[in-house]
Amino acid sequence: MIQIQQLHKSYPIGKDKLHVLKGIDLHIKEGEFVSIMGSSGSGKSTLLNIVGLLDGHDGGTYTLNGQVIENLNEKKAAVLRNKFLGFVFQSFNLISYKTALENVALPLYYKGVPRKERLEIALEYLDKVGLKDWAKHLPNELSGGQKQRVAIARALVTKPKVVLADEPTGALDSTTTHSVMELLKEINDEGMTVFVITHEEEVAAQTKRIVRLKDGVIISDTATANAKKK
């Protein structure tokens, strides 16, 4: 599903360059539940940006769903993101003046699905995350956990190949963290590839594979107990 070879990325800082990713090799198969761990500055967010087609890479190859990613313009990137990727952000990133239902339906709008149909599909996914009754509520009327569940429903609504979650529980307390992770597990059990970035050990422990990143290189890549259980 995701195939990364010798991935390099650096950012210019004045005249110098900050070498953030120094040759990452990573292969994620369909249906995996992977977490990337690392302290801040380890390059994990940069990796997610590149995987999520939000940023380009300088060297190496990146293949998403069999498609080699290089020299993407904004338009192509937008189409690929819409088609293959679902995003879950740390700060939820719901649009504040749209109801939960409209937020979930938004990716379908960019996909070109007619209004009536996309609202039906969106409601279906809200139901799936247990928030059908909250469909007409605005984000500021929802709790943190509810917001993140709306965001997950939004990430899933286009039936993407991969769900990318950047610190999905970073802004949540432990109870809601647990419920959100349960939801991600459920999604994974249904066969969705889930890619989580976190710095919390308990969160990583609930995934099936932990990739540890330090100073732009992978220092360990291990399967967790969850993986063997299955």
């Binding site: 904004e74 937008a78 960019y110």
Partner: protein
């Protein structure tokens, strides 16, 4: 474009920035308000000037014989030039395509008498075409016709003021008027936009008058209108040509400026027309500059809105919004604000003109108004300016990197 979600977002953005939207919208409304008002004022001035010339057809040429000022061809200076019926026939025959209407004028004055009332009035002995050149309006009966002229009938058309003077309450049509020992039947009454003096003329057939005055063939003046499709330049060429030929006919020195005096309305008219056209351009220029200030304002507010919505745009892009969709959103909002406020300003200006315009009727300024075409052009300008105003902020928005959605806060 007719997408419910798109409009919902535009309305939301406007609602969120009510005051700012109002203020910038106001500047566009103000710009178009001034533009329309300026154009209407120029139209008013144009109307005012044109009405000064309205008395006579705007394409008329008056030819007056006068006195030579230079000796020529064996004649001394100070000879009086006289026009005769032959001169008229000559022009008619040689300038068929150039002349629209033509008439001689033979002037006399008379004591006119009806029953016990009398008055002294000028007579204009003319041909039927005179009506169109002088723009005489018949309010009762008829004007002269060819039959009157060929049969040399003693018929007269009198001005409205003469009716007031002589006929009291009676209907003058069919009554007879005693003029210099002849009896004329009144067949028509006219009015004229000129002035009271214009309404104290008596029109009679030129042939009748010439016969009464010892069968003369003299005429005092030739009036004509040139082909109305002519430009001012063509009209001036034509009157120059007439002058040259008439001078040759009457043996006048080609450089003699006094012997034959040609008064071409085109000269004065082209001056006024140039003047008002210039004014139109100036007012369009000023109006557009004011509008430009409004457009910059709209661009400004949109840049701010984009800045505020950077994160939201980043989210949308992460969710699959194409740059073109983001650009659409911004430009449509801009066009929406400019068009709505512009139309508001325009309607306000037109309302004002409609309410006040009719009351204004002075010699230099009358009935200010805007044409539909002006309104349509203003609308197009508004939409185009909306697009222009939205362009820079839209490009800015399209360049927002989706990463900001992740990094913001």
């Amino acid at each position: 474009m007719f997408d419910r979600d798109l409009w919902a977002e535009i309305f939301h953005s406007i609602k969120k920035n009510k005051l700012r939207t109002f203020l910038t919208g106001f500047s566009v409304a103000w710009g178009i308000f001034i533009l329309v008002l300026l154009l209407a004022s120029v139209a008013g001035m144009k109307n005012g000037f044109t009405s000064q010339f309205k008395d006579d057809a705007s394409n008329s040429i008056f030819i007056n014989p006068a006195v030579t000022t230079m000796p020529y061809d064996g004649f001394e200076a100070g000879r009086r030039i006289k026009f005769t019926n032959d001169d008229l026939t000559y022009i008619e025959g040689n300038f068929k395509d150039d002349v629209e209407y033509i008439t001689p004028r033979y002037r006399k004055s008379t004591i006119a008498k009806y029953k016990k009332e009398t008055g002294n009035y000028p007579i204009r002995a003319v041909a039927p075409d005179h009506q169109y050149i002088e723009k005489t309006k018949i309010i009762g009966g008829r004007f002269l016709n060819e039959n009157d002229v060929t049969k040399k009938l003693k018929v007269a058309i009198i001005g409205r003021k003469i009716v007031e003077d002589l006929f009291d309450e009676e209907d003058p049509l069919g009554k007879t008027l005693q003029m210099n020992n002849s009896t004329f039947t009144i067949v028509g009454v006219f009015t004229d936009d000129g002035n009271d003096r214009e309404e104290r003329y008596i029109y009679v057939p030129v042939s009748t008058m010439q016969r009464l005055y010892s069968n003369t063939d003299q005429i005092n003046q030739i009036l004509l209108t040139y082909n109305p499709t002519y430009t001012y330049a063509q009209a001036l060429d034509f009157s120059d040509m007439l002058e040259t030929l008439l001078k040759r006919r009457h043996r006048v020195h080609p450089d003699d400026q006094g012997a034959i005096y040609i008064n071409n309305n085109a000269e004065g008219f082209s001056d006024v027309s140039n003047f008002t056209t210039m004014l139109s351009f100036i007012s369009i220029g000023v109006g557009l500059l004011i509008l430009l200030a409004g457009i910059v304002g709209i661009g400004n507010i949109l840049v701010f809105i984009i800045k505020e919505r950077t994160k939201e745009i980043g989210i949308r892009k992460a969710l699959g919004a194409k740059p073109s969709q983001v650009i659409n959103l911004v430009i449509l909002e801009s066009v929406f604000i400019t068009t709505i406020s512009g139309v508001g300003g325009m309607l306000f200006a037109m309302g004002l003109i409609g309410a006040v315009g009719g009351m204004i009727d002075t010699p230099a300024f009358s009935n200010p108004s805007v044409e539909t075409s002006t309104v349509l052009i203003a609308l197009v300008i508004l939409i185009v300016s909306g697009i222009l105003a939205g362009l820079i902020p839209a490009i800015k928005a399209a360049n927002v990197k989706p990463i900001v959605a992740l990094n913001a806060d």
